[in-house]
């Protein structure tokens, strides 16, 4: 069946999402709609990011536990909790966590660049999803992920 171009264009325009990064770009886990953080496959995930045009910098990584509250009239609310992990002066653009996180828990993470003692602001991103008649919008957000409910077979042993 041939779909008219007008309808196709309308569908594309009414289902558009936009992510803008400030600082480094999160590569893995991918970030997107902050209401649905991606689930990583391990309690010690490898976080990856990229940054162009700054060859001589190292990276600091910070992870906070997420606090999720459910209420009848406010729905699901998320906030940033306790700092649980911090590494400074990483030379690679990825980091395998040295400690296991809690299962089934949401986490926030951010990366900043470092040149000796000078550091950049922590990475953030803006997100906008337009669904034709409704939208999801968030500015200045930390990257997020959720841990799996069980450790992987390798982690469990």
């Amino acid at each position: 069946m041939k779909v008219p171009r007008g309808i196709l264009l309308f569908c594309v325009l009414s289902l558009s999402a936009c992510t803008t990064f400030h600082g480094v770009t999160a590569v893995s886990p991918e970030v997107g709609n902050p209401k649905f953080p991606p689930t990583v496959d391990s309690l010690q995930p490898t976080l990856k990011w990229e940054l162009s045009d700054q060859p001589d910098v190292t990276f600091d990584l910070i992870i906070y536990e997420g606090l999720v509250t459910e209420s009848f009239w406010r729905g699901t609310e998320r906030s940033v909790g306790k700092q649980v992990y911090y590494r400074e002066g990483l030379t690679e653009r990825e980091h395998h966590l040295a400690e296991a996180l809690k299962p089934s828990t949401e986490y926030y993470w951010a990366v900043r660049t470092r040149r000796n003692d000078a550091v950049s602001p922590w990475s953030r991103y803006d997100y906008f999803l337009f669904l034709g008649t409704a939208w999801v919008k968030g500015n200045n957000l930390l990257f997020m992920f959720k841990t799996p409910s069980e450790p992987t077979a390798k982690e469990g042993t």
């Binding site: 906070y64 606090l67 009848f72 909790g81 200045n140 957000l141």
Partner: protein
């Protein structure tokens, strides 16, 4: 005398969290369910002022299991302290400066409570023994600004025992030029006078354990 005791302050960016548009049917449903919602909101409150019984017996029975934590959250915007609505209508419809809520995380049972500031931000909470933290804030309908701001605070305090009156200080959150910073002040006598006037039946050993702001990396 007020003594500034913070050894450091932190300066942070706002967050504008994800939001969805309100629709007419949600508003209608809200109005229909308002009495139920208000009742449910009170059920999990840590606000001492929302206790069913503020008599001597009521307070005594509360202090068998929990302690009273008091202090103040002083929000300063563009150099001026903000005064918050104290009526139910003012809170619901966000008159004046809007609604400023703090989230209080209780490590005991991993619960998060929400508390809406009134007047000058003085508060009296009832909490069980354990580690707690003022985790973050949400400022709704900020006049002349974005509809909703939120950010992290993470000011930790300890409730060491049951039946105590614990002063945790004045947490000053200073909003200026699109950013906010925090300090902790000690105004013990002023706060004790205020809480004693509001809750005359509060008795118990008094102590001071000021909140600890997280040292940023």
């Amino acid at each position: 005398m007020n003594t500034r005791v913070s050894k450091f302050s932190s300066r942070r960016d706002f967050e504008h969290p994800a939001s969805s548009p309100h629709t007419l049917w949600v508003a209608s449903l809200f109005l229909f369910l308002l009495p139920l919602i208000l009742h449910m909101g009170c059920a999990s409150s840590i606000d001492l002022g929302e206790m069913d019984s503020k008599t001597e017996g009521g307070i005594d029975s509360l202090l068998h299991e929990e302690s009273v934590v008091f202090g103040r959250i002083n929000v300063v915007s563009d150099g001026r302290p903000v005064n918050w609505p104290n009526s139910t209508a003012g809170k619901v419809f966000r008159f004046g400066a809007g609604e400023f809520r703090v989230l209080v995380h209780s490590e005991t049972g991993s619960k998060v409570f929400s508390y809406t500031l009134t007047d000058d931000g003085s508060f009296a909470w009832h909490l069980p023994p354990g580690n707690h933290a003022i985790a973050g804030y949400e400022w709704h309908a900020r006049p002349g600004g974005p509809n909703r701001l939120s950010g992290r605070i993470w000011a930790e305090f300890l409730v060491h025992d049951k039946g105590a009156l614990i002063y945790i200080g004045t947490l000053v959150i200073n909003f200026l030029d699109g950013r906010y910073s925090m300090t902790v002040e000690d105004n013990f006598n002023e706060a004790l006078t205020k809480v004693s006037a509001e809750f005359p039946y509060l008795n118990g050993p008094r102590s001071k354990q000021l909140v600890r702001l997280e040292k940023g990396p």
